[in-house]
Each structure stands twice: as structure tokens, then as C-alpha cells.
């Protein structure tokens, strides 16, 4: 009985939580003009997807999103794990102050940075370029924090014996630290990817012509241009949501680990 009650309530809740996305997909698969609410699609069609992808440029936006999210996530994870090695295993001038300064910046709401970042990007001539979208966000403090915590647990003896064998510091980082910290490095990569995939405000400001739009920006412009075309809008939304959902489902463990770690220690 207790078990039945449990299944009943979690199923009900799951339906409520998943409903918007199921509805989105169903609407996206309807024939245009039949978006009228309470009906299920009579005939499933990929027409809306074809239209938004190839006529309204969403295949290009998708590619842009992918380029921006992948390269930002890769490079910022790399930078964070390089710095984390030094913070976890080396002593140097101003170490504590620098770490404190980095961490303190997490308290500042992102909006505060937007104006000066925009001015800098403008000065560099990076408006409407991938550079402008990617480079300002390559210092991921939260990622640095997570990886540093993890790398601290690597025993010093391991590094010492590698040094005796004549390994360079860079080699120690790449061959010992990164592989040992892999679970958290993967977490940071995924969190970064997710952040950049949906970094709406910044891309909205930097991308000024259609061929540079990312998916959320394209969606915003589409929304204001085609007020009533719901089936198309839902197809475009699906294009944005599906890749991140798939990524999440396959790598769920890493996402959850990162969040638990971050909250417990932060």
C-alpha cells in the first residue's frame, strides 16, 4: 500500500514536471494551423522542424551554439584545471589572496560585468564574432574551485616520484593530475557546456546579425517576428532543448556530483 502510494505520487509529479516538454514536442510535431490546444496531433509531421531548421536558419543557429558551447567549455575547463593544479599543489607568492579574490567574484551578479565586458569586446572589434561570445567567459571560477578541492586530495608522494623520474611539471599535470581528477573535470566541462548553451543575455548583446545568432537568440528574434506561429516556435524550442537533454541523460552522474560537491563545500 505504501509502495503504491509512493509510485502514485512520484508518477503524478513526474507527469507535471515533464508535461511542458512533452507538450512542446507534440506541438512541434503537429501540422501547422492545427496547434489548437486540446487536440493531440492527428498526424505526426517533421514539417515544422524542416521549416525552422532550413528556412528560418535554425540549423545555422544550432551550429553557432555548438561551436560556442563546445569551445568555451573545452578551453575554460582547461584553464581552470591548469590553475587548479597550482592552487592545489604549489606554493607561490600571493596564493591565498588570489584564491580569495577569485572566489569572492562569485558573489557578484553576472549582470554587473555585462556593460564593461561589452565595452571591452567592442574595443577589441569582437562584436558579432565567436571571439566576443567565447573569450569573456573563459575564467570559470566555480570550476576552478571544484577542481582545486579535488586535486588537493591527490597524494604528494605521487608527484614526487614522478619528479624523480624526471617528468616536467606540465607532464605531471597532464598525465597524473588531470586523469586522477577526471570525474570532477568532466563535471566542470558539462556545467560549462550547459552554461554556454543557454547563456542568453550575453549572446543577445554580442550577436548582431542573423548568421551569428545562437539558438536562444534566434528563438527570441523568431518570437518577436512570428507572433502566432506556435508549431514553428515549439519546433525551434525543441531544437534548443533536445541536445542538452540528451547530454544530461547520459552524463547525469557528473552533473549531480558537481552540484552536490559545490553546495556542500561552498
Amino acid at each position: 500500500m505504501k509502495k503504491f502510494l509512493w509510485y502514485f505520487s512520484v508518477t503524478l509529479l513526474a507527469i507535471i514536471f515533464m508535461f511542458p516538454f512533452v507538450w512542446m514536442l507534440l506541438t512541434a510535431l503537429k501540422e501547422p494551423g492545427t496547434a489548437l490546444v486540446l487536440s493531440l496531433p492527428k498526424k505526426l509531421t517533421l514539417y515544422n522542424f524542416k521549416k525552422v531548421l532550413f528556412e528560418f536558419g535554425f540549423s545555422r543557429f544550432f551550429l553557432n551554439s555548438l561551436i560556442v558551447a563546445l569551445s568555451s567549455a573545452t578551453v575554460s575547463t582547461l584553464f581552470a584545471s591548469l590553475a587548479a593544479f597550482a592552487f592545489a599543489k604549489k606554493s607561490f607568492f600571493m596564493k591565498e589572496y588570489l584564491f580569495w579574490l577569485f572566489i569572492a567574484s562569485m558573489m557578484v551578479p553576472g549582470l554587473l560585468y555585462v556593460i564593461p565586458q561589452f565595452l571591452i569586446v567592442y574595443k577589441l572589434g569582437w562584436i558579432n564574432t565567436y571571439w566576443g561570445m567565447i573569450v569573456p567567459h573563459l575564467a570559470n571560477v566555480f570550476g576552478l574551485f571544484l577542481i582545486t578541492q579535488f586535486m588537493r586530495q591527490v597524494p604528494d608522494s605521487l608527484l614526487e616520484s614522478a619528479r624523480i623520474d624526471g617528468a616536467s611539471e606540465f607532464k605531471i599535470w597532464w598525465r597524473i593530475m588531470v586523469p586522477l581528477a577526471f570525474p570532477i573535470v568532466a563535471t566542470v566541462f558539462l556545467l560549462n557546456f550547459q552554461f554556454h548553451w543557454s547563456n542568453f543575455l550575453w549572446q543577445l548583446i554580442v550577436a548582431q546579425s542573423e548568421e551569428m545568432y545562437t539558438v536562444p537568440v534566434g528563438l527570441a528574434m523568431f518570437k518577436s517576428a512570428h507572433e502566432e506561429a506556435y508549431t514553428l516556435e515549439m519546433a525551434a524550442s525543441s531544437v534548443s532543448i533536445v541536445p542538452i537533454s540528451l547530454l544530461f541523460i547520459f552524463a547525469q552522474r557528473y552533473f549531480i556530483e558537481g552540484i552536490t560537491q559545490g553546495a556542500v563545500k561552498g
Binding site: P116, V135, P216, I244
Partner: protein, 300 residues
Amino acid sequence: MKKGVRDNINAYIFILPFAFIFIVFLFLPFIYSIYLSFNQVTDFSDVFGGLSFVGLKNYLFLFRDKEFWWALVVTLYYALIIIPLNIVVSLLLAILLRKRYRLNSMYRTFFFLPFVLDAFVVGIVWTFIYAGRYGLLVNILKPLIGSIYETGFLGNAKTVMPSVALAMTLKGAGFGMILYIAALDGIPKEVYEAAELDGATGLKKLWYITVPLIQPVTTFMVIIGIIGALSAFAEFYAMTGGGPIVYKWGTPLGMTKVTGLYLFNHFSNLRLGLAAATSFVLLVLALGLSITYSKIQRKR
């Protein structure tokens, strides 16, 4: 070269790429924002040079601006709905998922998945569900809701804020759920067993044992809730654009024109000095409220 110097150089090489980006795109912008908030942009062709110093004018403007105070009021209203709602739903999910029945991890995926999705896109999907006339909810609830059938839930001044809060709770509660599950796992079984010996029942155990013991997570949720409400932007941009308009304080004001939208409005009209001043006021508010809240919690 001396060993100490070499070690320092060695360490700094590893930090360099990160620190460079940090200084150029986070630290200097922070300092520059402070400077900018005391200036007015006069020449847009020269975004760094075309500034004139105006002292506290931007801050004084905010202090006198009805729209700014209104933005604070509606943001507070939003926070007062979404923070408790989010905490209750997250905790409910966590308590349910602590029972390790089969399919537990599948359900956890369902609850957590919306959290990783984009607030803007999720907002758009909800706009469709909440819409008037052809929207889904108004058609299901048609006999009960009167004029909302025409305006939709986002077009009615009374329902708009709770509607956004509900949508964003369903999107975000999976995050709190994960934190609460970890906290609940940390409570030793003996505590409950002792309470049972003293005759405590289900709800009593929840209120007198569970809730106090998971207080650190709740405090964390309140603090990120405050910061989140003060910087909420994408969800309102997607769902309401600040509307619907209500007449208050002698002027038309946006019922959901929260601080995030207010700030964006200055920004998109290139009132950069004002926008910077707004961000600082919001930062001080977020810090002040968070610190006050955690102090009060610690005293209890």
C-alpha cells in the same frame, strides 16, 4: 636561478591563462563599473573616453525613480512566492526520493532534467501553455476563470507573478531536491529511532527533526533565491516582457517589470552609467539581504 623564484614562475605559468582572462574580463570590469556608475556616457563613438563625471547623479536618479522602487517591490513579491514554493517542492521531492524503490533514479532524472534547460526556452514553452483563448490551461479551466480566458494567465495582473513562479519552480526544483537528498542522507538513523521511542509521528518528525537538521541547505536555498530573484531576467523576458500594465502610484507600471528587466532597459537604451549604478545597488541589496538572513538563522 634560485629555487624559490623558479617555483614561483612555475606556478604562475599554470595560473596565467586563467588569471589573464579573470583580470581582463572580470576584475577590471568590476572596477570599471564602479567608475562608470559615477559617469554619464556623452559620446557613443568613443565608449571609453566619452564620459562625463556626474558624481552621485545616477544614484540619486535611482533613489527618486518610481519605476526603480516599483521594480524592487515586484521583485520582492516574486521572491516571496518563488523562494518558499521552491523550498517546499524541492524538499517534498527529496523526501519522496529517499525511499529507494525501483525506478527511483528514473524519477530523479525527470525531476532534475528541467533544471539544466535554458530559462528562456522553458519560458517560451510555458507562454504557450498559459496563453489566452488557444492556450492549454485556459481551455481546461474555462468555466472557472472568467476574463482570464481572454487574457491568459500571463495577461492578468493577479495571476501573472504566481504563474511565472510556478513555471520556474517546476524548472528549478530539481536542484534543491539534489541538495536536500544529500542533506537527508547525512542525518543519522539513530536520531529518528530515538524520536520514535519518545512517540514522535510522521509529521512531527519532519517538523522537529528533519527541518532543523537540514537548515544549512534551506539557508543556502534562500540566499541563492534572493540573488536569483534580483537578477531574474530570461524567464521574464520570455514570458511577460514586464507586463501587464497596472496603474499604481499615479503612473502605468509593468506588473512584472522586475529589477533584471529594469536594468536591461537602461542597458539597451545605452544609459550605461545608470545601468552600472543599478547593478551596484542590486549587488549591495543581494549581499546585505543574504548576510542578514544567515545572521538571523545563526542566532536562532
